[in-house]
């Protein structure tokens, strides 16, 4: 084997604490190495050209690049050597940056470690074999989970690009949080006026199949070929017949059902259409409140429905869909006020959340847009907003910023002054976060044009005093304590992950952070991809974000799917597990270990049972190889022999050093 070694300086990233030149010089002495050099930026165009040239000039058949993490540039260099005519798997990266130069300051020790890392990589490449990807068909349908503004945008872009879309939404209507909002910052345009038409487009698009009131049961398969079981929850109304006339809602005697769309500031009927602009505009029965379910008799809606759509016997239904890619757009949740003891833990009726306030402001809300105090229905003359209620609070293990509340507080403060001109508005804040276009100007407007009083400081307690509430906090600019007596307090409660976000992530096999937000594949360069190929992210499920950002991600995720589907066939990575049938004892321990169900039973012509790896499902994690008692299952390009060769090279060097 003729191996070339290319050592990168990465500017001073590596060469600052590793003598790259010396590493290359040492590498020249290793077995199989016929050429070694160092270069300022190996990944740059001249750097790559040098590799290509060396492959030809020195007749190389294997290449080692000692540089950064393979997660950065492995694919870059694989393509380089492929262009030079080599099999792209005859390649290995020694990570002398993240694993070496960045973590130690002792140049001599680092250089020594870098040499050893390269020594091991060379030993491994010497045992490499040519691998060839195989190709498989792609099912060009896409599943979008969550129909908030991000999911809707993704679905529309995919559908407009010619793809068939299955859009699954947990609630009975699409729209997400944006459908609850009154106006939107920084333009203060009516939320449902801009969202409504989009919802209609989604509802009417011939390429979009809507599954609302549905959840993901399970997902199997792999990029290009997923099978998804969708649980269509029982609505107890035959949506094929329901026309959304609303007669049932008028007559339903159970009028105290929890109103999710209005965040509990009003009640609704047990059978309801969640809001007037709902898509699909169909009724749903909430069995928790329906008398037919709680008391065993009622049947009023069944009697009044002119189309006979009511069906109390309806059951959940599981529907299977085949898709090639998945966009997750499940949005966010909001912190429960009960976790905020100092703000009353939800005990005071006149302390409400920002999203509840949106419903008071909203002309199609239960108060027709008149702001009132929940306790007595009177118009508040003073309103206090508290930002970061549960966000940026290490004591609640929630150190992150919820991103959009500073802005919606400014919006709600302006709207309050608009609705109640003789009102006074206070905002307690830590600092205002308004980095996007037009945002800082918007907050300024709230302060200067609308006279909203911004008090910099945190609130330590809210307590009732007669009919009013007292907000006690610090004014850190004046350096004093302040107490503001007020009629209404609005908390900008922290954005959390969507309910059951973790469970869905497990089904999708994608990672999530400690707060339940989904992890993108790279925070800067792969913001809508996940580490599971074929699964993409959009909107606030990846982290709190406002509407413009959520819509942007919806489109970005759609474009990723469209480019994935631009090919008819996908390549599968050949660096996967493989069973050597001669050695396999058929214990199938590997099948139990595999987290991806990639191993199946296979019967050989002689009747012997062995394990068999399903090429397209295996993710190459290697768990199975460590469990196999006979060493029969091996990860290609990371076989036991290769690992032993690496260790052997290391020991050999050590032996030589200690004897010499």
């Amino acid at each position: 084997m003729r191996i070339g070694v290319f050592v990168c300086h990465c500017g001073t990233n590596i060469d600052g604490t590793v003598d790259s030149h010396q590493v290359a010089e040492e590498a020249k002495k290793f077995p199989h190495v016929v050429y070694a050099t160092d270069y300022l930026y190996t990944c740059s165009e001249p750097g790559q050209q040098e590799i290509q040239q060396a492959v030809g000039e020195h007749d190389l058949d294997g290449v080692v690049v000692a540089a950064c993490s393979p997660r950065m540039h492995e694919n870059t260099f694989r393509r380089t050597i492929e262009r030079a005519g080599l099999n792209r798997y005859m390649f290995e990266m020694a990570n002398i940056r993240e694993h070496c130069s960045w973590i130690g300051e002792d140049r001599e020790a680092n250089t020594h470690k870098a040499i050893e890392l390269v020594r091991m990589a060379v030993a491994k490449v010497a045992n490499h074999v040519h691998l060839h990807p195989s190709y498989f068909e792609v099912n060009k349908r896409v599943l979008v989970i969550g129909a908030g503004v991000a999911g809707m945008q993704a679905a529309l872009d995919c559908a407009d690009g010619g793809l068939d879309v299955v859009l699954v939404e947990k609630k009975s209507s699409i729209g997400g949080r944006m459908a609850q909002l009154d106006k939107t910052f920084p333009t203060v345009d009516c939320s449902i006026c801009i969202l409504g038409p989009k919802m209609v487009d989604v509802g009417q698009h011939e390429k979009i199949k809507l599954c609302t009131y549905s959840e993901i049961e399970d997902i199997s398969g792999y990029v290009g070929n997923y099978t998804v079981n969708i649980r269509r929850k029982a609505t107890y109304v035959d949506w094929g017949k329901c026309t959304g006339c609303g007669l049932c809602m008028e007559k339903c005697p159970s009028k105290k059902a929890y109103d999710y769309h209005n965040e509990g500031i009003a009640d609704t009927t047990a059978i309801n259409i969640s809001f007037p602009q709902a898509i699909p505009k169909k009724a749903t029965i909430d069995p928790e409140y329906c008398r037919q379910f709680t008391k065993g008799k009622c049947g009023v809606c069944a009697k009044v429905c002119p189309l006979g759509a009511i069906d109390y016997e309806m059951e959940d239904e599981i529907v299977a869909e085949e898709v090639g890619a998945i966009i997750v757009a499940t949005g966010y949740g909001l912190l429960n006020m009960e976790e905020l003891g100092e703000y009353g833990a939800g005990r005071y009726p006149d302390v409400i959340t920002g999203i509840q306030y949106e419903r008071f402001l909203n002309a199609s809300g239960p108060t027709q847009g008149h702001v009132v105090r929940p306790s007595d229905g009177e118009e508040p003359k003073r309103v206090v907003f508290i930002s970061c209620a549960g966000s940026r609070d290490a004591s609640l293990d929630r150190p992150y910023c919820s991103n959009f509340c500073c802005m919606y507080i400014a919006k709600q403060a302006i709207l309050t002054r608009d609705h109640i001109p003789d009102s006074e508005v206070y905002v307690f804040y830590m600092d205002t976060r308004s980095p996007s276009k037009g945002y800082e100007e918007f907050i300024r407007r709230a302060q200067e044009e609308y006279g909203v009083q911004y008090v910099r400081g945190r609130v330590s307690r809210i307590y009732p005093k007669g009919k009013r509430m007292v907000v006690r906090g610090a004014d850190t600019l004046l350096g004093t304590q302040v107490e503001v007596e007020t009629d209404l307090v609005v908390l900008a409660t922290a954005a959390t992950c969507a309910p059951e976000a973790e469970e869905l992530a497990e089904k999708l096999r994608i990672s999530y952070d400690e707060y339940g937000f989904y992890m993108e594949s790279h925070p800067k360069l792969r913001p809508v991809e996940t580490n599971t190929s074929g699964v993409f992210l959009a909107g606030a499920c990846q982290g709190p974000k406002d509407i413009p950002a959520a819509v942007g991600q919806g489109s970005a995720a759609a474009s990723k799917v469209l480019s994935l589907f631009s090919k008819d066939q996908l390549e599968s990575d050949p660096q996967i597990a493989q069973v050597m049938e001669l050695r396999c004892v058929g214990c199938l321990k590997c099948a139990d270990t595999c987290p991806f169900q990639a191993i199946e039973e296979k019967e050989l012509p002689d009747g012997r049972v062995v394990g068999h790896v399903i090429e397209t499902v295996c993710q190459g994690c290697g768990l199975c190889t460590s469990i196999c008692p006979s060493g029969a299952i091996q990860l290609q390009q990371c076989t036991d022999n290769q690992l032993i060769a690496e260790v052997e090279a290391l020991c050999q060097a050590w032996r030589e050093r200690s004897s010499g």
Partner: protein
């Protein structure tokens, strides 16, 4: 007094730490942290030697001192410094809890309620936990830091009416009694006033220092703060004791500055009904 009686009645065996000394509390804390830790650690070390598993205290200030010493001893450097000051080596294997926590967690609300001979019916009580029993949460490891409910639950289970009290964890200022008396009066006035506003017959505390401060200063508050306060301030075990059947005298209710007689009368009448 009431703590001993109640503990005994609830089957909690209390053993006095031999030759115990002051825990250090606020005075030592403001002067020298190491000394503060050592004073508390001395008591804990003795208790450890006596083979006890838990040091119980009715006082949150002692509790904080003990918990700080237990935190210090986890750090190797500090453990050494501490032990240099101590005669007995301190291992830090013992735990420390408030009497309230023992009653709530180890005896349990239901068990306490079952033993009640004379339920606290007719009493409207404002539960006041004070500023350090539940905070900082990482150290206290007990109840909700901002909206604690353990006393609420115990008193409710014993038949009392427990209205929503917004100032459960405000500071009464007791520790500032000498350096800044004005401040203490302002802070204490707020708490007492609020308790009166919600119509409480008495304020129930979980800290002897709060008890003393809020009980003894009512005259000063009335003359200086321009609010008229007249509210008995009872320690939690005094009430539990009453419910378990001890006489007001046995739980020390004859020793208060603000007499609880009106409360007791109301209660007696209710019990007769």
């Amino acid at each position: 007094m009431s703590s001993r009686k109640v503990a005994e009645a609830l089957g909690i065996e209390l053993v006095e730490v031999e030759d115990w000394s002051c825990c250090g509390s606020t005075p030592a804390h403001t002067v020298d942290h190491l000394l503060y830790g050592a004073l508390a650690a001395r008591n804990l070390a003795i208790a450890e030697k006596m083979g006890l598993a838990t040091v119980v205290t009715p006082c949150p200030s002692c509790l904080v001192a003990f918990k700080s010493a237990l935190e210090m001893v986890q750090d190797d450097g500090k453990r050494k410094e501490l032990n240099e000051l101590l005669d007995l080596p301190f291992q830090g294997e013992i735990q420390s809890k408030s009497l309230l926590q023992i009653i709530y967690e180890e005896v349990g609300v239901e068990a306490v309620a079952q033993r009640a001979k004379r339920p606290l019916e007719g009493m409207r009580l404002a539960p006041y936990y004070g500023c350090i029993l539940t905070r900082p949460p990482k150290r206290a490891q007990f109840d909700d830091p901002e909206n604690p409910i353990t006393m609420d639950r115990i008193l409710e289970a014993l038949g009392a009416e427990v209205p929503e009290f917004p100032f459960k964890t405000e500071c009464c200022g007791a520790a500032f009694g000498l350096p800044k008396r004005e401040l203490v009066l302002t802070l204490s006035a707020k708490i007492l006033e609020m308790a009166q506003e919600i119509g409480a017959d008495a304020l129930v505390v979980a800290c002897p220092l709060c008890q003393q401060n809020l009980d003894l200063r009512q005259g000063q508050i009335t003359s200086r703060e321009g609010v008229s306060v007249d509210l008995p301030v009872l320690y939690i075990t005094q009430l539990v004791g009453l419910a378990l059947g001890f006489s007001p005298r046995e739980v020390g209710l004859d020793k208060h500055a603000v007499s609880p007689n009106r409360l007791l009368k109301k209660w007696e009448e209710k019990l007769k009904e």
